[in-house]
């Protein structure tokens, strides 16, 4: 694997291999000294054109636990604000010879574009509304820990599918792992033609009980300004996952940050069905696995040198 740009570039074996390696790294994260020398001397550059504390720090932790050097480049307060183009910024940063660039931008296809401008391995950390592949990988990893194999499992993705890169990457990933995917949300937030991705489309939660997994998406307040739904109140009335709607045997997921009282009620966030913090924890080890895969050149799951770095 040269880059991680889209879940669509991975097959089931790739996803399983990354999950297996993440499993190995889980052990590192539970140690007192959470660091291995696997990527010592390598440089990972975080290039974020959108505000992101969670994903960026997750990548930063992942790189540091592999002993890579990390540089964070946030678009605000940089040359970007002086009007520099994406290409010129990337060429400038590439002159420092990073081994990997983790990139998030508000525009679809940016990560693939950057991959054509530098020899660094590119990790797509979100390109507009298109994809967020590491989120999908960590979601698959989390679910497999909880449920085992996903074959035949039924996943409902609920909310603003139209504006969600998480939804797109997860439809691809869950389907690759054998799950059945249903997307559900207000008709104004379900893009025309999404069923061509191989998912079912519903506009109400009437059959939510069929789901083994309920994956709620964040409802952005700016959708209100665009009048895409009449009100958050009506949205919550129709689509909020709450104690009444969530079954005891269902698993609840959310990419964060949660709007309590909008897409999720407070009670379900704190319920035993919720794996939201497990997702965050999985984020670091899955990103370690991705960086390791891209930068070590390893394809098969071989033992990773896991001895703590004694420095």
């Amino acid at each position: 694997m040269r880059h991680l740009l889209s879940i669509g570039d991975l097959d089931r074996d790739d996803i399983e291999r990354i999950c297996a390696r993440a499993e190995q790294f889980s052990e590192v994260s539970d140690r007192e000294i959470k660091k291995v020398p696997a990527l010592r001397g390598r440089t990972v550059l975080n290039l974020f054109y959108e505000a992101s504390t969670r994903t960026r720090s997750s990548f930063e932790l992942a790189a540091k636990r592999l002993s890579a050097d990390v540089v964070n480049f946030a678009a605000s307060g940089s040359s970007v604000e002086k009007g520099e183009s994406l290409k010129d910024t990337v060429l400038t940063l590439a002159a420092h010879s990073p081994d990997a660039i983790v990139v998030r931008t508000p525009h679809a296809g940016s990560a693939a574009l950057i991959a054509g401008w530098t020899s660094a391995a590119i990790v797509n950390a979100g390109d507009g509304k298109r994809e967020h592949p590491t989120q999908a990988l960590l979601d698959v990893f989390t679910l497999r820990q909880r449920l085992g194999a996903l074959d035949g499992r039924c996943v409902w993705i609920v909310g603003d599918v139209a504006h969600s890169r998480v939804a797109r990457s997860n439809i691809l990933a869950f389907r690759a792992m054998g799950a059945h995917v249903t997307v559900c949300g207000p008709p104004t937030l379900i893009p025309r033609g999404i069923e061509a991705m191989g998912c079912d489309v519903r506009y109400d939660l009437d059959d939510l009980r069929e789901a083994d997994v309920v994956y709620a998406l964040r409802m952005q307040r700016e959708r209100m300004d665009q009048h895409l739904v009449p009100s958050l109140r009506e949205y919550a009335a129709r689509y909020q996952i709450n104690g009444r709607r969530l079954g005891a045997r269902q698993v609840l997921m959310h990419p964060g940050p949660v709007n309590r009282g909008v897409e999720l009620s407070g009670e379900v966030v704190d319920s035993p069905q919720a794996v939201i913090t497990a997702q965050v924890k999985a984020g670091v080890v899955v990103r370690m696995a991705v960086l390791y895969e891209l930068l070590s050149g390893a394809r098969a799951v071989e033992p990773v040198p896991l001895e703590p770095q004694l420095a």
Binding site: L86, H107, A108, G109, G128, R130, R192, G193, I194, M197
Partner: protein
């Protein structure tokens, strides 16, 4: 009045000084060529020609047409260049009513010289330039300056379509009567729709005074919104906001109704959707005076090509579904679609080297129009060559431009093509200043070897020129 065949190179008359209203077509005309094209397959459906012939061009006109081998170059006072046409096709040159020459203000993308050089290389003998420049062409002094510049710089005759509304803001009509007197070939707010039905209605009524067809870019911005590609399964998968087909077809239905009510003439630009073809067919059946065009890229490509998010494939209207492409082809065949127009829209490389959603809309098209259509539609047997040839100049009629015709006494507007020549788009660069071509890298059949516009040779393909020398 400067028309096809004019050999004067002096500047256009200032606005208001023209003796009569009508479209001005201006270029820096080279001296007329004296030329004998011998033995080419002459194909002009309008003239009823489809077979080998000799064609003699002299003093700006097609002087004689004879059986192959019947005309000779000797015995005349001027030296006559002989072009061996055997195995090649001689066609009436093409007329493009929809190009962006980017002058004034955006000369880093294209200018009158490079744009018309691209036109000549594509086999075009006349083009009409759009007004969405900086400043916008919305007043007679700007038109006068452009005609002056074209008389110095343009390789093929070029006309201009000033804006319908001041600043293309969709509010106040431009001084359309004065613009017509100054040589406006028609009017358009291209790049933008005339959103207000009331404003468009006023423009349609005003046509009774000033004449000139209104060329309309049909798009309801409340439906297209921030869309960047065709709305469908691919836009859903890519997470790119879609431009639905109905954003075009609903405006077409509205504007056809307005044109019918006002008994005005409209020309619809760059049809892209099946629903639009249906709307035009319905309007024509009701007697509305409407003509329309489709582009080579909409006739040969679909949104599948956009899966890579290559910004050269981003244009407005967007490449749509295969069913839309099929409907455009049928529209061309049954006459619902009157003409082919390229919507040649050059953009500088750095402007296109950005994320798809941020990239400006548009593809160049003049240099690839014939080959793309020939390769994708004629070679597979979808449409006959004669139909493509006819549609490539058919826009002349609604814009009241001279229609190229291979007949004795007509102005010499000719394109010599080699249908067997295979070339890869962009392999030797472009005549256009920009390289944002939707067909870049594609292997195409059919190469324009030579273009004669208004009586003089304006283009020779490099290898052809060398072989002939």
């Amino acid at each position: 009045m400067r028309r096809h065949g004019a050999t004067s190179t002096v500047g256009a008359p200032p606005g208001g000084a023209r003796s009569s209203a009508g479209p001005a077509l201006v270029h820096a005309a080279p001296p007329p060529s004296t030329l004998l094209v011998r033995g080419a397959h002459v194909l002009d459906p309008r003239a009823g020609l489809d077979g080998p012939a000799d064609v003699l061009v002299r003093r700006g006109e097609i002087a004689r047409i004879g059986a192959p081998g019947s005309l000779d170059a000797g015995g005349r006072e001027e030296a006559t260049e002989v072009v061996e046409g055997e195995g090649r096709h001689l066609l009436p040159a093409f007329v493009d009513p929809h190009v962006h020459l980017r002058t004034p203000g955006q000369e880093h993308k294209e200018d009158l010289e490079t744009g018309t050089r691209a036109a000549a290389a594509g086999g075009f003998c006349a083009v009409l330039a759009m007004p969405n420049t900086a400043p916008i062409l919305d007043a007679a002094p700007i038109l006068g300056a452009l005609l002056d510049a074209a008389a110095r710089e343009a390789r093929v005759p070029v006309g201009f379509l000033p804006a319908i509304t001041v600043g293309q803001r969709g509010v106040a009509l431009t001084e359309m009567a004065e613009l017509r007197d100054a040589g406006a070939a028609g009017f358009t707010d291209d790049g933008l729709p005339v959103v207000s039905a009331g404003v468009l209605r006023r423009a349609l009524r005003y046509q009774r005074l000033c004449g000139g067809v209104l060329a309309l870019h049909e798009e309801d911005p409340s439906l297209s919104a921030d869309g960047a590609m065709h709305e469908g399964p691919l836009s859903a998968r890519l997470g790119v906001a879609g431009i639905p087909s109905v954003s075009e077809s609903t405006m077409i239905a509205r504007d056809c109704a307005l044109a019918g009510y006002e008994e005005a003439r409209i020309h619809l630009q760059h049809l892209s959707a099946r629903e639009s073809v249906e709307a035009v067919a319905a309007a024509k059946a009701h007697g509305v005076q409407v003509t329309c065009e489709a582009s080579p890229h909409h006739l040969t490509l679909t949104d599948e090509a956009v899966a890579s998010l290559d910004t050269r494939l981003k244009m407005n209207p967007p490449l749509r579904a295969e069913s839309d492409r099929r409907a455009l082809i049928e529209g061309l065949r049954d006459g619902t679609i009157d003409a082919i127009a390229t919507d040649h829209a050059p953009h500088a490389r750095d402007e296109k080297e950005v994320a798809f959603e941020q990239a400006p809309m548009g593809t160049t098209g003049l240099e690839t129009a014939f080959a793309a259509l020939y390769t994708e539609l004629v070679v597979p047997g979808v449409l006959p060559l004669g139909l493509i040839v006819e549609k490539l100049s058919a826009a002349a009629q609604p814009f009241a431009l001279p229609v190229p015709r291979i007949a004795t006494g007509e102005a010499a507007n000719l394109t010599l093509v080699d249908l067997d020549a295979r070339w890869t788009v962009g392999e030797h660069g472009y005549e256009s200043r920009s390289d944002n071509c939707a067909f870049a890298g594609r292997a195409l059949l059919g190469r324009v070897l030579m273009t004669v516009a208004a009586g003089s040779v304006v283009y020779r393909e490099r290898a052809f020129a060398l072989s002939a020398a």
